[in-house]
């Protein structure tokens, strides 16, 4: 579904990614892990067009999307729930969700049943249903994270990019987030998950890539990487 080859990207003159290749197959959950500053978020930003890649190829469903502006990439079906959630604080929860479906509501993507999907989101995240008319800026961190994920899902995406959904959440809420990710996986949503909590990410993912200083150092089936000492050294070393 999503195939990345030799992606090079960065900010201004600083190059962060030095040629990354990865693949996300349809219906699979792939995770991208690595220590702070390894380039995980930069990878997602380059995929969704928030920054322009310097070189390399990104194919979404076989179509080259590298270098396109983010609104075009989104209209092709790539949803990105960004780092720090980035919900629209001045809009109510419901409007945030509707904006997630913007390409569907404006004819840039097949419309489907937006109303039904909205109800589904409210079922999946009952907290959001309770607060549907509340401004998103007044939500708590955990609720904002739910909203950011639900908003991205409203696109009915081909691929969903999730950037650190656990960031800044209480441990109990982190468990909720991972439970949600697991549910989405069961629903066959194609996902690329960036996480700081490698163990938890490896527990739910099918495939994993470990990033180190802007290159993929290890990759393979998640269950294999779980016990790989190289991964422990590259990443988990941080915690022990």
């Amino acid at each position: 579904m999503l195939k990345v080859e030799n992606l090079v990207a960065g900010y201004g003159k600083v190059q962060v990614l030095h040629g990354i290749s990865l693949e996300v197959e349809k219906g699979r959950l792939v995770t991208l892990i690595g220590s702070n500053g390894a380039g995980k978020t930069t990878t997602l930003r380059a995929l969704s067009g928030m920054i322009k890649p310097q070189s390399g190829s990104i194919k979404l469903g076989g179509v080259e999307i590298a270098g396109q502006p983010s609104y075009r990439i989104t209209r092709r079906g790539l949803a990105h729930s960004p780092e720090n959630r980035r919900v629209f604080p001045t809009l109510p929860v419901r409007d945030n969700l509707l904006l997630g479906a913007f390409p569907r509501l404006t004819g840039a993507r097949p419309k489907g049943d937006v109303k039904r999907d909205l109800d589904r989101m409210f079922q999946m995240f009952p907290r959001l249903a309770e607060r549907r008319d509340q401004l998103a800026g007044t939500l708590s961190g955990g609720e904002q994270q739910m909203l950011a994920m639900a908003r991205a899902l409203m696109l009915d995406p081909e691929v969903l990019l999730l950037d650190e959904p656990s960031m800044g959440l209480a441990p109990r809420l982190v468990e909720d987030v991972f439970a949600t990710v697991a549910r989405l996986k069961e629903a066959k949503v194609t996902m690329l998950l960036v996480e700081q909590f490698a163990a938890a990410a490896l527990a739910v993912a099918d495939t994993a890539y470990v990033l180190e200083n802007g290159v993929v150092s290890v990759s393979g089936p998640a269950e294999k990487l779980r016990d790989d000492p190289a991964v422990q050294a590259a990443y988990l070393g941080a915690a022990h």
Binding site: S70, Y71, T90
Partner: protein, 299 residues
């Protein structure tokens, strides 16, 4: 007491004109953190295009009132086009170059060009704009009000209300609000944010052009009619806060009323002074404006 009431009433109508123009500044500032320094010229152009149109329509034996109503959509469409041109020539590239000074200079330059073109087309002398409503003042209680003054207040409120309803109810309006809140995130929703900025400039000039045809019947029309109005609206936008629609109305009313009072009790020559004084005062005491919210910087 009657004089005071009378002055306040005329202040209100002047203030609502300022409010509409200031509202135009807010529209573009929200989406792009830029605004049109040639807004006064957009207003003058709108009024002049309106003048030509209404004279043409009156020449077709249409009554002044209906001619005025028929003229409005033409002026509004013209305003949108003019705003889009300003954004395209003056702002887009400056935003891309991340040049703070660039858009200020470019919109000033476009203002100068538009003004010069207007002078060449319509001449340098002020022109009389036919009034769609009777010019006989109405006696309401102790005060006398010109019907056009009431029309100004109604028209101004209607325009701002229309934009507000559009932003709240339509998905495109929500996209505008989203772009204002977080441009990158709006892009991730599939919103073409540069188009939204162009659109906000179109709406901004539309507001100015509308303000132009609202005031034209009570003043004179000409290429230089907008300069001072545009400036006053700066003061209003800052007094009310660059991010608050209510602020524009309140700021406009404050300035309009203070000006008419100054004009009467001190001297008409000084009636432009309170704008600057209020402006400096508000910036000193509450820099984000009376209704503005302080922004949080990110490190």
């Amino acid at each position: 007491m009657n004089i005071l009431a009378q002055l306040i009433v005329s202040g209100v109508s002047v203030g609502m004109v300022y409010a509409v123009i200031a509202f135009g500044y807010q529209l573009t500032f929200a989406t792009s953190k830029t605004l049109n320094f040639g807004q006064g010229e957009a207003l003058a152009l709108g009024a002049l295009v309106g003048l030509t149109t209404i004279n043409f329509l009156i020449g077709q034996a249409i009554g002044t009132f209906w001619a005025y109503l028929l003229m409005l959509p033409i002026v509004l469409v013209f305003g949108m086009a003019q705003g889009a041109v300003v954004e395209w020539l003056g702002v887009r590239q400056a935003i891309r170059m991340k040049s703070e000074a660039g858009w200020i200079m470019a919109t000033i330059a476009l203002g100068i060009i538009f003004k010069n073109l207007a002078e060449n087309i319509w001449g340098r002398d002020p022109l009389k704009f036919p009034s769609p409503l009777p010019e006989q003042a109405l006696q309401i209680g102790p005060v006398r009000v010109q019907p056009m003054e009431i029309a100004i207040v109604v028209g101004a409120l209607a325009l701002m209300l229309a934009v507000e309803i559009f932003n709240r109810t339509s998905i495109f309006g929500k996209a505008v609000v989203a772009t204002a809140a977080d441009r990158d995130a709006a892009g991730l929703m599939g919103v073409n944010t540069s188009l939204v900025i162009t659109f906000s400039y179109a709406l901004s000039s539309l507001s100015a052009a509308f303000a132009g045809v609202l005031v034209a019947p009570v003043t004179l029309t000409g290429a230089s009619m907008g300069a001072v109005l545009g400036l006053k609206a700066f003061a209003v936008a800052i007094i009310g806060g660059l991010s608050s629609g209510i602020g524009a109305i309140v700021g406009g009313l404050i300035l309009g009323i203070v000006e008419t009072l100054t004009g009467f009790y001190i001297s008409t020559g000084y009636k432009d002074v309170p704008g600057l004084v209020l402006l400096l005062l508000v910036l000193s005491l509450k820099p984000s404006g009376l209704f503005g919210k302080a922004t949080i910087k990110k490190v």
